[in-house]
């Protein structure tokens, strides 16, 4: 078989009469001629790991590459852009066991540049390909076939969610033919277990692109293991499958591909998440989400027109909501700072003023708080909450005054007391004149040594306390 195929490839230097144009634009870029029909009707889906043998020749008959010479079939993931375009398109049309010749124009191969040293510039390539088999894409780390993906809809772009990134998915779980769960949720990758997402499914989602929809087959050890899951009526050691769609996810912040519209989109995504957490009283999480909203909008460049207005609105909401979260968490300083930022964007934001008032109140600054609440009332005289807060402020101010009065009331008595204590201490530290009288005084010690002392250096001269003199 092998030898025969090689020969055919060498003879065929221009596409045969039965060749069909399979290029998407019908520009004659990829011509396919079936040499041997395959079995069955199935063709490999995107992402499949396809095993092929192939021989590549140039139009002049020169063989430039052959998997048979390497002694091992060539395998690749279909539709991932890892091979030249002609292959991703061509092999996707082939069935198991099929042998076909693809004649590929340079635009679908190596183009103007060629691929030195073997492929010259602007070369048309002829591949004779035999599809041996394919498997779903194995996503398990151990490559043990425990997590297999079959793509249904291809995703966009190139990136996949990082660990810790918030993902928004829709999933349908099946055990045999029975659907055991169907839901839409979002969760941070890596914390799936908190949300009833099994290990294997989480691992698979890491490899999804935005908008991708795939079927994931999980062996029990990557799913609910020997324990099973009673709530979902999954018996021990059961293999299950999911149909998953990754609707959206948090992009890496270092990513450079985000244009203004996408930044807005990401910010909205997190604003929604934050609001959900907030409603469920998970303030710390909500805080985290709102911070991300800000991080996507912080730098002004690139936004224009409507987008700029939207950006400002989102930024304002972000800061206001951050303030609210901080208030709930009793972090008044941070809350006040966020309000300041919000008010910088919109000095007449009622919410901003109101929340700053609350923060100031929390910080024990009722006078400052009162100014904020009064500003709110001025803008909206019907704001009862603010009016109430002003009453509260007045009460606090009064209380504070009362307390101050108490503190300062006994001030003079206190100072007098302290002075008395000081006087007492000073007296205690005075030297006892009676004891030092008649002994050597300070000036005596500093004198020159006498001749007697010089001659008898080992005589100890003692002071009144019996301590040795330091100059001897």
């Amino acid at each position: 078989m092998a030898a025969e195929n090689t020969e055919t490839a060498e003879v065929v230097q221009s596409p045969g009469p039965s060749a069909v144009d399979i290029s998407p634009d019908k520009d004659g870029g990829i011509l396919k001629e079936i040499i041997k029909e395959g079995t069955g009707f199935e063709t490999p889906v995107q992402g499949s790991r396809v095993f092929v043998h192939y021989v590549g020749t140039l139009t002049d008959g020169t063989k430039f590459d052959s998997s048979r010479d390497r002694g091992k079939p060539f395998d690749f993931n279909l539709g991932k852009g890892s091979v030249i375009k002609a292959w991703d398109i061509g092999v996707a049309t082939m069935r198991k066991g099929e042998v076909a010749v693809l004649t590929c124009k340079p635009e679908y191969a190596y183009g103007k540049a060629g691929s030195p040293p073997t492929i010259p510039p602007d070369a048309t390539l002829i591949f004779e390909i035999e599809v041996i088999e394919w498997t779903g894409e194995d996503l398990s780390q151990k490559k043990d076939g425990g997590i297999i993906r079959y793509q249904i809809t291809k995703g966009d772009g190139y990136s996949t969610p990082n660990e810790g990134a918030v993902v928004e998915v829709r999933l349908v779980g099946k055990h045999g033919n029975r659907v055991f769960e169907e839901r839409e949720l979002s969760f941070p990758l890596g914390e799936g277990s908190e949300f009833g997402i099994c290990e294997g499914l989480e691992r698979a989602i890491e490899k999804f692109k935005k908008g991708e929809k795939s079927r994931i087959e999980l062996k029990s050890k990557y799913a609910f293991k020997a324990e099973g899951k009673a709530e979902l009526a999954i018996p021990p050691n059961a293999d299950i499958e999911y149909e998953v769609e990754l609707k959206n996810f948090e992009k890496a912040k270092e990513s450079w591909s985000l244009d203004s519209a996408e930044k807005i989109e990401q910010a909205k995504f997190f604003k929604e998440k934050g609001t959900n957490y907030f409603k469920n009283e998970k303030y710390a999480l909500a805080l985290k989400m709102y911070k991300k909203v800000i991080s996507f909008l912080e730098f002004g460049s690139g936004f224009e027109g409507d987008l700029d207005a939207e950006r400002k609105a989102l930024l304002l909401v972000g800061h206001l909501n951050l303030a609210l979260c901080h208030l709930k968490l009793l972090e008044h300083v941070e809350a006040r700072d966020q309000c300041d930022k919000a008010l910088k964007l919109d000095p007449s934001s009622e919410k901003g003023l109101f929340r700053r008032g609350q923060a100031n109140l929390g910080l024990g600054e009722p006078e400052k708080a009162k100014v904020d609440f009064e500003a709110v009332c001025k803008m909206d005289p019907n704001n009862k909450a603010a009016a109430n807060q002003i009453i509260l402020c007045n009460k606090k101010i009064k209380e504070q005054k009362g307390r101050e009065k108490k503190i300062y009331a006994n001030m003079f008595e206190k100072f007098a007391q302290r002075d008395r204590e000081k006087e007492e201490e000073w007296r205690r530290n005075q030297p006892d004149v009676m004891k030092t009288l008649g002994e050597w005084g300070q000036d005596e010690r500093e004198r020159e040594m006498t001749d007697f002392e010089r001659e008898n250096p080992n005589i100890l001269m003692l002071n009144s306390t019996g301590e040795e003199f330091k100059n001897m």
């Binding site: 390497r70 002694g71 091992k72 990082n162």
Partner: protein, 596 residues
């Protein structure tokens, strides 16, 4: 034969061998080992006999009595043949584990190989031990230091003692593993199921490509190449035999990259047996993968054997991470390999062919960041220059939107006036490109162009910006504006709509800045002159100058009076230059607005 008897014979044998070798009676030593009388004792007691021979495996023996050394080798081969393999292997391995003594290590490879061939069934474990032993010897080898060699000078490295040592050791290892590679070579049998020995050897060879090979010169020159190069070529041939498709490791580079990103903050657990062996950093260091692709793609070793199906874009994306790994190193020759690899993958892409959405990967930021470090900080001039060319080539491989996004984001990474100036020149070229081709102008017109201009054509601190430090950027920015004013009279780019803004953000503060700076520097010049006069008056000898000059916020170290004058004069000259450019820009703008 009784146990007692064997012990006696064994000590007799070791004594004789020791005496003969010490006194150079090699024929006698050989005759003893061939004597059947000792066969049983060699078989049972090899761990006692081996040390009596290996102690002569030192450099001194090679220098003084090479025939004794040869004899030792023959003796050890004979012992390996006759011994019971399990015990002898352990003893040989223990003996070979001396990192300082290459002579001994190399001499023991042959007997170890002989023993491994006697153990076909339990080869896996014993081969793994041997390869581990070799690996640790290799990784302990010191690497040459940074000599800042340029071009042909690199050939001198061949005489560096570290390089000589590495070459010698590799010279022993390559023939050692050859037969084991051939046993499982895909070229020999069409059996391609997973095979432990094959995986083991693949990991081993990849390890050999990492440290210390990464630090050597592996380039090929017109007529000659370093001695180690041919060994490297052979290692890659082995790898092709074992793996079939050399490009498969690109996929592992990808997993490694994403793992690193997601696990950055966690404790990385090595030795997790659940993982694919090629995914483990302790088995296949990412540096090795990077060196492999440097060798294949930049040095074209085994490239013709690699499948000719992979898309250049895929190879480019996968190699970016490897390039970053290489150019982040501090050793010059590793950096050089990174630059050569970058060049090699960029060459295969045609201009404008790379889609913008691959910028989703954060690796691009890392790439530009580390590349700009090379451009600014690398000590070898030719590396700095080639990094600059790589940046340009990289930028122009992208489609219009990609170029725009890159230009928008680059200033967040590089904040060096020289590079910013260079980028502005690139921006100018991109605009020319967009204006003259049928390609859509979308990203280099209107608001988007203005976004770029407002980043590049502005003064960071307004009129107080240090003009001397930022002269490159300022000159390029002025040139860009002048170019646009001259070239785009019909306002295709929409530049004219923003002239007023540019006036405020750049031109006006610049005018003010020149005035301030010039006055400042003239004052300094006057101070210097006064100081000089003062000094001449007092003693006329001391040249120490006390006028402090700061450039870019850094005080210049003790300069002589003349040097200071030069610095100031050159600063004043740049102000002249900026000013003359500025007035030309103004002329162009004025004449443009009159016309429109």
């Amino acid at each position: 034969m009784s146990v007692q008897n064997i012990d006696d014979l064994c000590s007799e044998l070791t004594t004789i061998l020791g005496d003969c070798l010490a006194s150079g009676r090699i024929n006698e030593a050989l005759s003893v080992i061939y004597n059947v009388k000792y066969d049983q004792c060699i078989k049972d007691k090899s761990w006692d006999i081996i040390p009596s021979v290996t102690k002569f495996l030192i450099q001194e023996t090679v220098d003084n009595s090479p025939e004794v050394f040869d004899c030792c080798e023959t003796l050890l081969k004979e012992i390996a043949e006759k011994s019971s393999p399990e015990e002898a292997l352990l003893e040989f391995l223990e003996q070979a584990e001396s990192f300082e003594n290459d002579v001994k290590f190399l001499a023991l490879l042959k007997p170890i190989q002989i023993i491994l061939f006697k153990l076909p069934k339990r080869r896996r474990q014993s081969l793994e031990w041997c390869l581990n032993m070799i690996e640790s010897h290799v990784t302990s080898l010191p690497v040459p230091e940074n000599y800042r060699l340029e071009g042909e000078e690199r050939k001198l490295l061949d005489s560096d003692p570290c390089v000589c040592r590495i070459t010698k050791v590799y010279g022993g290892i390559v023939p050692f593993c050859k037969p084991f590679v051939n046993e499982v070579s895909l070229r020999q049998r069409a059996e391609y199921q997973k095979n432990v020995q094959r995986d083991l050897l693949i990991c081993f060879i990849l390890q050999l490509l990492g440290h210390p090979l990464a630090f050597l010169d592996l380039e090929c020159y017109e007529k000659s190449s370093s001695a180690i190069r041919s060994m490297t070529e052979e290692l890659l041939t082995f790898l092709t035999y074992l793996a079939g498709d050399l490009m498969v490791f690109l996929e592992y580079a990808e997993t490694r990259e994403s793992e690193r990103r997601s696990k950055r903050n966690e404790n990385f657990t090595t030795g997790n047996s659940d993982e694919d062996i090629f995914c483990r950093e302790d088995k296949v260091p990412v540096l090795s993968i990077a060196i492999l692709y440097y060798l294949v793609l930049a040095e074209h070793i085994q490239l013709s054997e690699a499948p000719c199906i992979y898309s250049p874009l895929y190879i480019f994306q996968r190699c970016l991470y490897l390039i970053v790994v290489l150019i982040k190193h501090s050793e010059e020759l590793v950096v050089r390999k990174g630059l050569l690899l970058a060049n090699a993958v960029l060459v295969t892409l045609s201009e404008g062919s790379v889609p913008w959405n691959i910028l989703e990967s954060p690796i691009h930021k890392e790439f530009v960041e580390s590349l700009s470090k090379v451009m600014i900080c690398c000590e070898v001039e030719s590396f700095r220059k080639s990094a600059v060319l790589i940046l340009r080539s990289y930028l122009f491989k992208f489609d219009a939107k990609g170029r725009y996004l890159l230009m928008l984001n680059l200033p967040t990474v590089v904040n060096h006036s020289g590079i910013l100036g260079y980028l502005i020149t690139q921006l100018k070229d991109m605009i020319i490109n967009a204006l003259s081709s049928t390609m859509t102008l979308a990203y280099f017109t209107g608001k988007t162009l203005y976004d770029l201009m407002s980043i590049y054509c502005s003064l960071e601190h307004g009129a107080e910006t240090d003009l001397v430090e930022n002269v490159d950027q300022i000159v390029s920015a002025l040139n860009l504006i002048r170019f646009l004013a001259l070239r785009d009279r019909e306002n295709k780019t929409g530049m004219w709509d923003y002239v007023g803004v540019l006036e405020k953000s750049l031109l006006e503060p610049l005018r003010e800045g020149i005035k301030l700076s010039r006055a400042h520097y003239k004052l300094m010049l006057r101070d210097l002159e006064e100081e000089k006069n003062g000094m001449v008056n007092s003693d006329g000898l001391t040249r120490k100058s006390n006028v402090a000059i700061t450039v870019g916020g850094q005080m210049l170290p003790n300069l002589t009076h003349e040097n200071k004058v030069t610095v100031i004069t050159s600063a004043l000259n740049s102000f002249e230059l900026i000013e003359s450019l500025l007035s030309r820009v103004n002329e162009c703008i004025d004449s443009g607005t009159l016309k429109s």
